[in-house]
Point group: C2
Chain length 219, copies 2
DNA sequence: CCAAAAGTGTTGGTTTTACACCCATGG
DNA sequence: CCATGGGTGTAAAACCAACACTTTTGG
């Protein structure tokens, strides 16, 4: 049985939760959209394969991937039996997308307005979104999508857009502060004609890739 | 790459949470304990393979399995690259265990006193236990381990032994009753020299295999 | 001075925890 | 009559949800 990996990469862009999809250049599902992914090489760790395929097909690099399921249905791929291990990530939107030889049009698509997808990728995305929402409320993954310094409003927007739910500003700030995982920086973010916002950073030095139970579980 | 499945089967026996292990008759890890499992056949669904291997190696049949992870480390199996998809289940302890040709001594082992295990099965078990505890608190899997009719004390014991934590009797009963997923039966369980206990059953007819969010999240 | 986002506490309602006694039975 | 587990309610504490005004800035 061949083993592949698929990546469900989320970001926030223009106030929307979006997913990175490619357009398939060849059969099967030629011309259809699909998740970036591909076959695992011999002697290659699964997560590495996922990073590699993602970079090859979209140019997105250096992200923290979390495995959330394996999809092994007998008929899921018309080429034969292919098991796919699925990973998700939440990343900053600034990386430049570059198409590859066999995957064109790497693009961000709104989670709530996806095109028709090949394989069982709709199901994989639905599972990934459920997992993302759970982890957002129990770990610090939100910080993967934010710049090193960020305002509380930016943090709240991540929660609101991922959970697809408005949150109360005062309650949100109270709870985040109680967690004691943020520290104020000396700077403020000045933009627009209004009071500048305090910039915060994540306390623990490894604000990447180390997940901490935070139990936000907001409203 | 070859694809296998492994089953982490939990039960409760003699007031202990236990796991079903087999002893390996051949290399690799000959003589060591391991999870029941084996290779997926061509054109066989993963879950079916897991059921089949479990039956072949231990005689345990007809259980509800839930996938919780894929283990694909390059070096995890000395025979070569083997990816294993792991499933867990919580079952009633009464099925008779029967050894197979290549797996001897199918036996229940206390989760807190496991023998030395082959492969990366210690890690798989640790992950399964975490998942079991989570699902016990958010779904109705507890009912898979209970007989059709059961007392509230029996239900509470499942929670206590899986979560490894004492629960308050009155609070437990209050919360379970509020969920409105149980109905009283006409019978009482008479055993021992004390007041007979009301027997309950799970309301919805499909008290197997259908998971319902119950949000117990006890204490 | 106006618009826009930043920042800040309190209150009422709900949920959770802690806790102790009487009941029904068998031996 | 004694030992054993079955069964029940209440009060205090903790937590959560709802809510509005003042501040700082740029234009």
């Amino acid at each position: 049985m061949r083993v592949a990996v698929d990546a469900v990469v989320f970001t926030i862009m223009h106030d929307e939760l979006r997913i990175l999809l490619i357009k398939r250049k060849y059969e099967p599902f030629q011309g259809k959209y699909a998740l970036p992914g591909g076959f695992v090489h011999a002697d290659e760790e699964l997560e590495h394969a996922c990073q590699r395929e993602l970079e090859e097909e979209t140019n997105v690099q250096q992200i923290f991937l979390k495995q959330f399921g394996a999809y092994g249905g007998v008929k899921r791929d018309p080429r034969g039996r292919i098991l796919s291990v699925a990973y998700f990530a939440l990343i900053r939107p600034e990386q430049k997308l570059i198409a590859s030889f066999d995957a064109t049009e790497p693009r961000w698509h709104s989670v709530y307005d996806l095109p028709e997808l090949g394989f069982d990728h709709s199901k994989i995305i639905a599972d990934a979104l459920r997992q993302l929402r759970y982890e957002l409320q129990t770990t610090n993954i939100a910080f993967q999508i934010l710049p090193e310094r960020f305002t509380l409003r930016e943090l709240q927007q991540v929660y609101e857009l991922v959970l697809d739910k408005k949150l109360d500003k005062r309650n949100f700030r109270k709870r985040i502060k109680e967690l004691r995982i943020l520290e104020e920086t000396a700077e403020h973010k000045m933009e627009g004609a209004h009071r500048p916002a305090q910039l915060y950073r994540f306390c623990t030095p490894a604000h990447q890739n180390i997940r901490k139970k935070v139990n936000v579980f907001l409203q």
